[in-house]
Symmetry: none
Subunit: 216 residues, 4 copies
DNA sequence: CATGAATGAGGTTTCATTCAT
DNA sequence: TATGAATGAAACCTCATTCAT
């Protein structure tokens, strides 16, 4: 989302020439690779530049400092997840709960699992101070998407959609994160999908306000 | 718990003399304070020692390096949470689900919320490299406690208790963490308890093997 | 004046085409502006080029390195002052001291004060390594001009004109520089002219070999 | 004077233990030596530390950054000059001008010439941005000392002592600085003393208000 | 000719850790 | 045992300069 107006966290220049685009992409990819191979603590701007096959100086022409680089990478990752969820939600407005939950889970877990290692590595980055706002932004968008969808459920109404969407999001994120962090034991990872669906659907059914007349 | 077999992560000596105990406690407390006031990145051993009112040298007499200090502090925190959950679970064996879930949630959330800022700060530490095993250990114990309790539920049986207890734990941890990280908006924090209970209970009811009549 | 024999301090080419002249002027002006806005430490060739509206590459087509650029700008400034003094001195040969001093002061102070900020900024440049020779050259020319003039004074003779002209020059330069550096307190700046005249004239009268009667 | 309240320009700690004093002195001396041998541009904290026979880290235990080190050294130098002038002035209150000027000149020139190279090197440091306040402080004290002395002159009164003392100070500083910078040609350096005395005394005599009755 | 992306040596600063006192 | 001065590897970042386009 990169809504950070903070001092020097924005990229320095968005490359317009062909050669620059290649460079920036290489840096981007290298960042993730170093994150995976060395961990956040050992991620050095020099190391990233080396891995990207450019010089440190080049890296600093695009990102004013290390943080801004991590921000960009993290932001990109979050954007992917968020957009995926937004689209999934958008496609299932006005349907019954039972039709909403599975695609939502699917989109979320898939986006997180797509590049499993990357997501895992970025969890660490996210924990790094000052990315709180990025996370907050992303969470907010996810909650909004969920909220909008739930508001149109054909077979349920909710008392406080803010809390409900917060819970649904967090209920998806918790187990997903746990699974990823615990080295993703394959057995659980395979079952994750199914159980997350049950978790969320059961919760939503429980908190839904029994719908007066049509209920019958 | 400190189940770390790694090189030098064990504290150097367990203080037995009164004076030493005071020192260690001071270092412990100072670590958390520095964590809160400066953040993990700016937590330096010198700063911790200063805050604790001892010299760096003294600090290094109790912990062979910075990591071991953070391990100890994090371990202590996790132990508190784990033990709290273990006791809560232990007290409700052989009861029906509806009697199990609320005390479990209560214990978990309370332990996490007790010293809210501390928990928050330690989340960052936990994310830091190599504490994966500590987290894993703690998670494992929590899951075990939950599993043991659920296995005795008077009104439900479960197909795969490993997955179920994993999910219950993660379903508690996710929203709790989210709430803590997002600066704990009071409204949600107040509702957290209630909704977590619904979340977990609804889930458990759903995955339980219906054994109504045949149960007898 | 650029009497530097050092390696690569000469400008690369003296522009003869209209377009080039404009470019060089722009670079010149940009250098002074950057000097004023960022200070010598933060004056970078890229910044100068940006401000001048050209690319770094272009800048390096006219000046082989940063120093040569600063040399050129400083030299230009010094030339202006020197020429101004030379002309003033040239116009007052063979006159009595009282007629010589005021125009000299006038020329010097005016030249320095003309673009006050510029002079101030260039003081810093001058202090920078290796411009010693430029300063020396300029000083020498000023002293020569003063010496030549004083040698023809109609009402005074001097024992050691080298020292006397050195002193007159330095006596003008000291207070002028002090006034400029101290942020030019307007009150003093206004009085500077008058007091410098008194300072120099009083000194010259004192060191002159009294040749009243015997002069004849 | 170190009246700088700016962020990090104050030394970090004033050494109290014997070993520290030695270290700080070594750093101090090394700074001047590096200044002389390499020039301000080439003065690196590493180089200073090397020359001082300590590690960079040690240097940074006493000075939070490079500037603060230079500040300290410059401040020390200025203090010496200022105090010297203050004492000289203090000793000659209530005397006639002719008795005041020579000791003043003596003190000023001697202090500057005492460690000729040091003074020369520090001129460069002084030109470095942000030391303006240090210079200003020192100048102010010198002017005050001169002003106080002149105010008590037994044979002269002055209209605007602020301007007069400003001029006297600058008139001393200009030629002294010129002489130092120009590599101190011995001949002039020897004559400097005598001519400065004449310069200042002639000036003061000229601007003094003819003292009514006693004047006769 | 002009451009500006790329270079990389070199500078400043931090901080975990040791060890003489 | 406690102290805190000293260490120095290693991190971040800048900027003069080049050269392919």
């Amino acid at each position: 989302m990169n809504a950070t107006h903070a001092k020097g966290l924005m990229p320095r220049k968005t490359p317009r020439q062909a050669r620059s685009v290649v460079t920036v992409d290489a840096i981007f990819e290298a960042t993730i690779q170093v994150l995976l191979s060395h961990g956040l603590q050992r991620l050095t701007t020099t190391r990233v530049a080396d891995r990207a096959g450019v010089s440190v100086g080049t890296l600093y022409q695009y990102y004013p400092n290390k943080q801004s680089l991590l921000y960009a990478v993290l932001g990109h990752h979050l954007d992917r997840v968020v957009e995926s969820v937004e689209q999934a939600c958008g496609r299932h407005h006005h349907e019954p709960l039972a039709m909403m939950v599975p695609p939502l889970i699917q989109a979320y877990v898939d986006a997180k699992t797509a590049r499993l290692d990357e997501a895992n590595a970025l969890n660490l980055v996210a924990a790094e101070l000052n990315s709180a706002d990025l996370i907050a932004q992303a969470s907010k968008r996810v909650r909004s998407a969920i909220l909008s969808m739930l508001a149109t459920a054909s077979d349920a109404r909710f008392d406080d959609l803010n809390i409900v969407s917060f819970m649904v999001h967090a209920a998806m994120a918790g187990p997903t994160r746990s699974a990823l962090e615990s080295g993703a034991p394959s057995k659980i990872l395979r079952a994750l999908h199914e159980h997350l669906t049950m978790l969320c659907h059961a919760y939503l059914s429980r908190v839904a306000i029994p719908d007066g007349i049509e209920q019958r």
